[in-house]
Symmetry: D3
Subunit: 139 residues, 6 copies
């Protein structure tokens, strides 16, 4: 159960309303996720967060689908069920197949596993990766 | 400082040696990261881990570079410096530019930020994302 | 669903009962949260935990409400829904307004965001913050 | 060692330079932390992050020192050494005493401990904290 | 609600079926946990994961019950309710009593607490634990 | 570098001194880890923490070595290098062999891996593990 209830359009301030209108226009859908309706309790926070999402998840150096995959990976690490479900839906809409989802989870779990080994054994960085060594070929 | 010292080739068992040979052949380089030399203390663990890495990071439904980016994202979440440095090198070798690294970090930090909001406010999943509702358009 | 069921007063040992009596007296309420009723399965653990809570959350160098805010911040990071709900209630009873809750969440998410950047880029500590440099003005 | 080197003023773009000027003006100091010099590799990210920091850490519903304490708590949870050192310095400049730092750490560790108990035993939320029950007195 | 539905035996591929048969034979039970039925969407991942579980949780240098206790500790840290419930059941079947579960949770919460102190105060490793010092008696 | 410097015996209060004396007597060694010397800045926190460590890590339902192994597992998850090194030393003194350390790390990484899968796919608890189902055989 949520700490704050999601606000319906008529319950929020005009400033919050205008952010929701921008979400609808940008995403070309009438539906607005409940996370935005919770954030609408504080219109300033709502606006900052949405501007950040719009800018970071928009066109850039990485493919939009790749960004959604990274987002899902982070959400799996943070144990955020809400984020996993909503971004899995967004990723499917951008072309994620079940095979891609499976492989994504495999990479996430592999990295969690090998991260634990490097941390657990306190492995020190190889000399060749240190800045003074310059960058070498892949290893 | 490491809990166990990385083993030189002549200090490890023949079984561990053969795994390192496979790493060299698969990656087409003579250099083998210290994490493998630490794992070499237990040849069975070394072999299991390497087989898993080889299979998961090899060809599949996702692009190899995308997998490295996801790996870096997980390493940033797990605060694994060793993993960040070695996989940033691997990702650069597969084509990651500085602009891509910056955008990757932006997605990771955005997801960490919005994950915290969804978790902190304990936002419940919108009805439309629940299985009984069927899948709808992106939101 | 819990691993162990919360015990009613008549189901617990006299030693556990006496801890619950102290919780009631200290908090001036008849109601005792279920976490204490779960811990009551092991009276020694119940007593240690309660003594610690009573001492740390009681009067000291920090304002009691500030401590509740820090507690909520930690609970948001640990993704503990139980802790978020019970301590949000405690914080409201000590004067937390909705505006303060919103700003708290903004600080938590900002710190999560910038922590990720410092970790992800493996930023090293500026020379001026190192002990040998002495402490300088705020930066 | 960092993934990207901190840029000196003359190495960064005019857009990044102007953000650093605003940091200097806002904080009334010539010194700019290395995290900003790392972010300067991507002026857009630098600007977004700084605008967010300036707004969230500025005047609002919570006392500026309280915000620094929450920031330190999050950094301790995230194991971010860079963040702990720089924000401990900022908090001291805003009035944090050693006694307050000790008590802050006690609250952080207490919350970590009791969070683990609530999570480990999978304690379910008491009926009285559920939305349909309405809000009651502190417990 | 799950991202992917657990598959019944007749819905999965023959390769996945054969892994489930091995799980049943190894554990001497007809019941197979839903996690395996979710992984069955990708038979390769199912097989890798099961081979790893069978090998790591099987006979070795540590007692099987000790391994289950460590597994539960990790699950409590990762906030994985599914993992806590299924492995608490497995641990009880291997002899875990309620007293052992309580003491396990106490060690987990103690370690969480003292870890936070060491991290929060950024305590540096004592000289005697550094490799060049050689190993000394317990401290 | 630490936020607070470890105190020498002559720099701490008599109350803190007496806690260190008890650590020496309980552990039968003259050496006291630096974490205690950092906590000595706040004698009350020092005493609470030590009493808790002494009680939880002392004789009980679990073998002392098992407790050290769980402690190491938690430290690997929390990425606490200080804790890993000091408790690996303590565990070796209580009989941990290299083979046991390797197997411990395998269990920790396996649990991290399978936890991520259960979380990532948001697997729901099987009906048979729910309280109303009663407890069944191992699965």
């Amino acid at each position: 159960m949520p700490l704050l209830k999601p606000l319906a359009d008529h319950e929020m301030s005009p400033e919050a309303r205008s952010v929701l209108d921008d979400i609808r226009a940008t995403r070309r859908t009438d539906y607005v996720n409940d996370i935005w309706r919770v954030l609408a309790h504080d219109p300033r926070q709502l606006r900052i967060t949405w501007e950040n999402v719009k800018q970071v998840m928009g066109p850039g150096a990485l493919d939009p689908l790749v960004k959604e995959l990274v987002y899902i990976a982070v959400s799996a690490l943070n144990n955020c069920g809400y984020c996993l479900h909503t971004h899995a839906a967004a990723a499917r809409a951008k072309g994620m197949t079940d095979a891609m989802l499976h492989e994504l989870m495999q990479v996430v779990t592999l990295a969690s596993q090998t991260n634990r080994l490097a941390i657990g054994y306190q492995v020190e960085l190889d000399a060749r990766y240190r800045p003074e060594a310059g960058r070498k070929e892949e290893t």
